[in-house]
Symmetry: C2
Subunit: 201 residues, 2 copies
């Protein structure tokens, strides 16, 4: 990895951990950070915009991207495809920009195989009660789907060991500050400074 490359930051964790909220707030506070827009085959929710929240694609178009190797990671959740287009991410990183992915756990593990030098942050709720509460509050799906999400979320907590960092999302401003500190620290890490006093800082 060349020194001028940006960091690939992967925010992940179980459903209900609040990673979406943290990601939005982080982007608001860090205008230089680039959000990687995912592709999905699911229908847009009210207010979701093409190219901003997701690239909305048909199942067939999504499968085409998959076959062409155009996805950095992909997964199927509740009958829908989700994935990260590879090209834009790599271009931003080469341009020295930090890129943030907010993705599900299985996707994060795929990214880790391809980009082990990424920064993998696991977001967790402060307790299992809070997790259950948050998943219920979202309330856009029937109880059966909610229960399925909840049991998946509890099972997924075990994946924490695959990550570099864990941030407990008890209060959003504190959690955001922790993530910002992680990015600052990673940029100071010796493993990312191969050319000290040669190629600059």
């Amino acid at each position: 990895m060349e020194e001028s490359h940006g960091l690939l930051i992967v925010l992940s964790g179980p459903s209900g951990a609040g990673k979406g909220t943290l990601c939005s707030e982080l982007l608001r506070q860090s205008p230089d950070l680039v959000y990687s827009v995912s592709a999905t085959s699911r229908a847009p929710r009210p207010g979701e915009l093409e190219g901003v929240h997701y690239y909305f694609r048909t199942r067939e178009a999504f499968q085409g991207m998959l076959e062409q190797g155009e996805l950095l990671e992909w997964a199927e959740f509740c009958g829908n495809y989700y994935g990260t287009p590879r090209f834009a991410v790599e271009q931003w990183l080469r341009a020295g920009k930090d890129v943030i992915l907010e993705i599900e756990i299985q996707g994060a593990l795929q990214v880790k195989k391809r980009f082990p030098q990424g920064v993998f942050i696991f977001i967790v709720p402060p307790s299992l009660d809070v997790l259950s509460e948050r998943i219920h509050k979202r309330g856009t799906e029937p109880e059966e789907v909610i229960q399925k999400r909840l049991s998946t979320a509890v099972r997924e907590l075990a994946y924490v060991s695959e990550y570099d960092y864990v941030v407990i999302n008890d209060e959003v401003p504190l959690a955001v500050d922790k993530i910002k500190s992680i990015l600052t620290a990673e940029k100071c890490h010796v493993k990312r400074k191969p050319f000290l006093f040669k190629g600059g800082s």
Copy 2:
């Protein structure tokens, strides 16, 4: 390592990097941080206080501590002994306090062998010119000693690879913020979170 243990933070780097200034400023901003006072056989400089800046000991007393295994690390510089008393450091860490050591490179490498779970931060000057300027400005020693210090400092830059982080000390407030971010990030590191959702956060 139990979860409630504090972090052992080792600030090190070549002479003239400004690690003393950073350490003082960090302690001023972080009242919970504990400074590990070193022992030395050198004579006090004007204004230096026993038990605050150093524990001043005779060569014989220092050698006694060495023989009793009471030092976490030690080194001889310019004919004087310097070392870190082990007992106080371990007691603070067990009490959950973060302890900071500001020590020379050879000492840091000894600490790393005994406390690999410590956070090893290498402080460097922004350039070799600045390094030379700072060593000259200190001006408490003859030119011959200064030249010896300078060539040692340049040689010592190669030890950066033994550390976890490198912080370039160009502006003190920025460098202090980076160190604080490193400590925050380390506390979020998965390797320090063995009991997530069991023993607490």
